[in-house]
């Protein structure tokens, strides 16, 4: 965490909307991307993003500076995402529309299937989330554990299983 971030958090804790707006500006795209790859619909990702920042603002006083601020935000985002339909759950009310898939919509098309589409299809939600936080968000295992409210050992085991499963799936895909 940079010192300027410390100052912004302190100012926001003291009630400064402007300071918190800077923090929002800093993290909104990363959080939105994370929510897009996890939520079933774009509207869910948008709602979850809004709720994440509102929740962070409301409970900023409870933020523990021993944690990275980003880890704390991702933890809140995960909770709000968990309250909405996830990408791997069938939507009961609406017919599946591939064009409305936030993850597929975000992928720059280079003619090759993105590994994260396979990961989302084949991995458990927890394994997929841990893999995303570790490799896409560059979070240390300890921070992934904190964001997911799990133990470090749990994260290590799930990362190992997710990688192994994904490697097998890719071998099968390449063989076909």
């Amino acid at each position: 965490m940079t010192s300027s971030e410390d100052e912004l958090i302190a100012a926001a804790k003291a009630g400064s909307h402007a300071a918190f707006a800077v923090l929002v500006e800093r993290y909104q795209d990363g959080l939105y991307r994370f929510l897009c790859v996890r939520c079933a619909r774009v509207c869910d990702a948008e709602d979850a993003l809004q709720d994440t920042f509102v929740g962070a603002w409301r409970y900023l006083a409870s933020y523990d500076p021993r944690w990275r601020f980003s880890t704390w935000l991702y933890r809140i985002a995960l909770r709000h995402a968990a309250a909405r339909p996830a990408a791997w759950e069938p939507l009961a009310a609406e017919p599946a529309d591939p064009a409305a898939d936030p993850l597929a919509d975000c992928i720059a098309d280079d003619g090759r299937r993105n590994i994260w589409l396979t990961a989302r299809q084949r991995l458990t939600p927890d394994g997929y989330t841990a893999l995303w936080l570790h490799y896409a968000e560059d979070m240390a295992v300890r921070d992934v554990a904190r964001a997911m409210e799990r133990s470090v050992s749990w994260v290590k085991v799930n990362l190992f299983r997710a990688r192994r499963r994904l490697a097998r799936e890719l071998e099968t895909e390449d063989g076909e």
Binding site: G15, H17, F20, A21, V24, Q28, D29, Y32, R33, C36, V37, A45, E46, L49, Q50, F53, V54, G55, W57, R58, Y59, L60, A61, S62, R79, P102, L103, C106, I107, A108, D110, N114, I115, W116, A119, L131, W132, Y135, A136, R163, L166, A167, L170
Partner: protein, 139 residues
């Protein structure tokens, strides 16, 4: 780093999502409308008031004095009998020295005096745990 890990990072970089100006405006508007929640109150120390503690101690002291006054003093042995060090010696409660018996009585009285407080403390702590859990879930 393995090839798989490299691909995970490379493909993640190809996933781009940016918030739209409308979404940013929506988030800012909801933040302006939201008020920070009041900071969580510190857990109050669950210690009985000093007056209650003083009362319990006084009652215990009176009871001990009563027991000592009613019980005839056992004659103190002139000298302790020599016992082999390897031999274990058991004493029945009735043959315990008076001072030790008084300790037992004091312990018993203290336990009786503080039992309601202990139970109340356990109930309060259970309530607090439940409330914290509910708050955690709601948040």
């Amino acid at each position: 780093m393995t090839e798989l890990e490299e691909r995970l990072r490379r493909d993640a970089a190809k996933i781009r999502a940016e918030t739209t100006p409308e979404l940013r405006a929506r988030v800012q508007a909801s933040l302006q409308a939201a008020e920070p929640a009041a900071p969580r109150r510190r857990r109050p120390a669950l210690v009985p008031p000093p007056r209650l503690l003083g009362g319990a101690a006084l009652a215990a002291a009176v009871a001990v004095a009563g027991v000592l006054a009613l019980r005839p003093e056992a004659p103190a042995p002139e000298s302790w009998p020599a016992t082999p060090t390897a031999q274990t010696q058991t004493s029945l409660p009735g043959t315990l020295p008076t001072a030790l018996q008084a300790d037992f009585v004091l312990l018993e009285l203290e336990q009786r005096a503080t039992q309601p407080l202990t139970e109340e403390q356990e109930r309060l702590e259970a309530d607090l745990r439940r409330l914290e859990e509910e708050l955690r879930r709601a948040f």
